[in-house]
């Protein structure tokens, strides 16, 4: 039971890193008023780009960097369309996901047979060896890849950036009320570009983590919907980094549990009263595919609850989300 729990936690941390990276980027982009539904495509670009460079050079970090750049390259297309050309953000995003999936499948087919040794799992310097000894959570949290630690570090940094720095506050202001921000001298266009590029970079990093640390392989479509879960996660987190972290672990735990639910039977003993009633229900609810619907259902419920409760007044959703900004001209 203890080994099961430790393994579960380990898998949770691994699954959560991808969601934290991609989700945090999406959160920053959305706070600036731009919805990016291209996360999945950008992640795939990052996964393939990072993988190819790592195979060619043998350097994980170079691959990771190129993965970030690949995500940003697709994000630049999104930014140009949505900010400069004021196109529909939903259409652009969905098409970029399609484009990213198509391009990586097309050009990645030659790389399917390759494999690499992923990012090594390391302990933190100095205190790491003691932290690993912590029962249950030690191994899961403190023997991880560098990218796992990076993702964790980026959450407080992201929070600090958005709430305590001038640039971050300006960025949030253009997501709420771009007209006023513009009047105050904030460059709406430039900052929105920045926000979309940051989001693309994070998505690329999430993808590169998948191919470089998580699997050590390239498989077409390997993100398997995680980009969409990241989009859902931002809503689930009500656009707050701290809740995003909790949500990522929650969704990560669900993902880890779902892959292991077969090995752990939660059914009641045959003799227990009502076992015949409860067991089919438990079996249904812990079925891996059924558990796969939980993140999406939870997000719909949270979104509906938040909207219904606040009647649109105090909702955390950035006011100017989905609205292209056009400067008033005489």
């Amino acid at each position: 039971m203890v080994t099961f729990a430790a393994g579960l936690l380990d898998a949770t941390v691994q699954a959560a890193t991808v969601l934290i990276l991609a989700g945090l980027g999406e959160l920053i982009t959305e706070r600036a008023g731009v919805l990016n539904l291209g996360v999945e495509g950008m992640m795939l670009a990052g996964a393939l780009g990072g993988f190819i460079v790592t195979v060619l050079t043998g350097s994980h970090w170079l691959g990771f960097g190129v993965g970030i750049l690949c995500g940003m390259a697709l994000a630049l297309v999104h930014a140009f369309l949505c900010i400069t050309l004021k196109s529909d953000q939903v259409i652009s995003g969905v098409m970029i996901t399609l484009l990213g999936g198509g391009l990586t499948t097309y050009f990645g087919s030659a790389w399917v047979e390759e494999s690499i040794d992923g990012f090594p799992e390391v302990t933190l310097p100095l205190i790491g060896e003691y932290l690993v000894e912590i029962p249950l959570i030690g191994e899961a949290f403190f023997r991880s890849t560098a990218t796992d630690y990076l993702a964790l570090l980026l959450v407080p940094l992201g929070w600090f950036f958005l709430t305590r720095t001038n640039l971050g506050l300006e960025l949030v202001s253009i997501g709420e009320d771009p007209e006023t921000a513009d009047t105050m001298g904030v460059s709406v266009f430039r900052l929105r570009y920045l926000a979309v590029l940051i989001g693309g970079g994070f998505a690329g990093a999430a993808g590169a983590h998948l191919s470089l640390a998580f699997s050590g392989l390239w498989v077409p479509g390997m993100t398997a919907g995680r980009g969409w879960i990241a989009v859902a996660l931002v809503i689930f987190a009500q656009w707050r980094p701290s809740r995003l972290l909790i949500g990522a672990y929650l969704f990560g735990l669900l993902d880890a549990f779902r892959l292991r639910s077969q090995s752990l039977s939660l059914s009641l003993e045959p003799g227990t009263p009502l076992a015949s009633v409860f067991n089919p229900v438990i079996d249904f609810l812990t079925n891996p595919q059924i558990m796969g619907t939980y993140p999406y259902l939870a997000t719909i419920i949270v979104l509906t609850y938040a909207v219904a409760r606040t009647k649109g007044d105090r909702l955390a959703v950035p006011d100017a989300l989905l609205e292209p900004y056009t400067r008033e001209t005489d």
Binding site: L81, V94, I96, L99, G102, W228, A232, T293, L297, V307
Partner: protein, 361 residues
């Protein structure tokens, strides 16, 4: 100093309306040519295989029409809400729900074909309408963004399908993730040109949508709500009713797309049976956004792209993913072109430059 001056166009020149789809498709094909060259394939030969050979062979034309059935129906599922200013990006899920419900009826109900097939279609339409009704109701009632909810419900539907074909609906004779084969009575018969009768359903759906949008009072309300929500409310139109209506009818069309694909072509429901028709429906609806007839034409074009793409893939050993790239590029160029339709762009070259002028003054 280069100055760019944007002025909103008051009316779009007529030639621009016709030229846009053609130009965007040509541009996308030009980009695709670069991708083909990158893998050492002659673009002209590849495109000839893709379009020429497909259109010139009976087999190619038949396959294109078969492929067009789910694409047109799913395209309508996105098109109709779009008329009312709503975005249904969950046609994929509605299609899958329709396929599940229709297949279930086909496998579990014993009736003669004349009764069974209509029942399957009704069940499929109802299931699609049900799944589409959720985001519509949430939007109409509480203003919950329908884009997000319809998208998320798609993934719920896909997981549910995956569960069913591995569990309650699995073929009892094997261990594969698919249902049993539909009986002959539950199979849609061939109608014309070697294409199953789903084609007739698709054409009727196009006609119904066309008449609904263009010729009825309800259609006027839909377009009015889509154009100006506030004014529509002033005029006493019910936004609630319209929102629910366009999504429910759209979802039903997507459901019909699902069952036509299963009962007309594949014969059984498989895990991952369809290659994203519901997502391709978005480009189709956007390309054909002006009328249901255009949606049908766009659906035929994308069907050609799919069929031609796979024969090109076989002939030249190029990944069929090129079709996805082309699809995405067509729409990305299309929304780029929208900008030039909406704005008149003047580029002014001011030789003196602002700084110099300022200095003299």
């Amino acid at each position: 100093m280069v100055g760019i001056d944007l002025t909103a166009r008051e009316n779009v020149p007529r030639w621009l309306n016709y030229a846009t789809p053609v130009v965007t498709i040509l541009l996308a094909l030009a980009c695709g040519a670069v991708a083909l060259l990158a893998l050492g394939v002659s673009p002209l030969a590849a495109y000839w295989t893709m379009f020429g050979d497909t259109l010139l062979s009976t087999f190619g034309r038949t396959q294109t029409l078969i492929k067009a059935v789910p694409l047109i129906l799913a395209g309508l599922a996105v098109y109709l809400p779009l008329r009312a200013g709503l975005f249904n990006i969950g046609a994929e899920g509605q299609l899958v729900f329709g396929a599940i419900a229709g297949t279930w009826i086909g496998l579990n109900v014993e009736l003669p074909s004349v009764l069974l097939l209509p029942l399957m279609f009704v069940a499929a339409g109802t299931a699609g309408a049900f799944l589409a009704g959720i985001p519509a109701w949430l939007r109409a009632k509480w203003d919950v963004n329908e884009i997000i909810t319809s998208l998320l419900l798609t993934f719920v539907a896909l997981q549910l399908q995956s569960y069913l074909v591995r569990g309650p609906m699995q073929d009892p004779t094997g261990n594969f993730p698919h249902t049993a084969q539909l009986s002959a009575a539950a199979t849609i018969p061939e109608a014309l040109l070697g294409v199953h009768a789903g084609l007739i359903v698709a054409v009727v759906a196009v006609a119904v949508t066309y008449v609904l949008v263009r010729k009825t009072g309800l259609g006027f309300e839909i377009t009015f709500v889509g154009a100006n929500d506030a004014a529509a409310r002033q005029a006493g139109m019910s936004r609630f009713k319209i929102y629910l209506l366009v999504f429910v009818i759209g979802g039903a069309f997507a459901g019909l797309a699902g069952i036509s694909e299963i009962a007309g072509l594949q014969g059984r429901l498989r895990a991952g049976f369809e290659p994203g028709y519901g997502f391709t429906a978005i480009p189709i609806a956007l390309l054909g956004r002006n009328s249901a007839i255009n949606v049908m034409l766009a659906g035929l074009f994308f069907a050609l792209l799919f069929v031609g793409g796979s024969s090109m893939s076989v002939a030249y050993g190029v990944p069929a993913a090129l079709v996805e790239i082309l699809q995405a590029l067509i729409i990305l160029f299309l929304i780029t072109a929208e900008f030039f339709k909406r704005y008149h762009v003047d580029i002014e070259f001011d030789r003196a430059g602002d700084a110099a002028t300022g200095g003299e003054a």
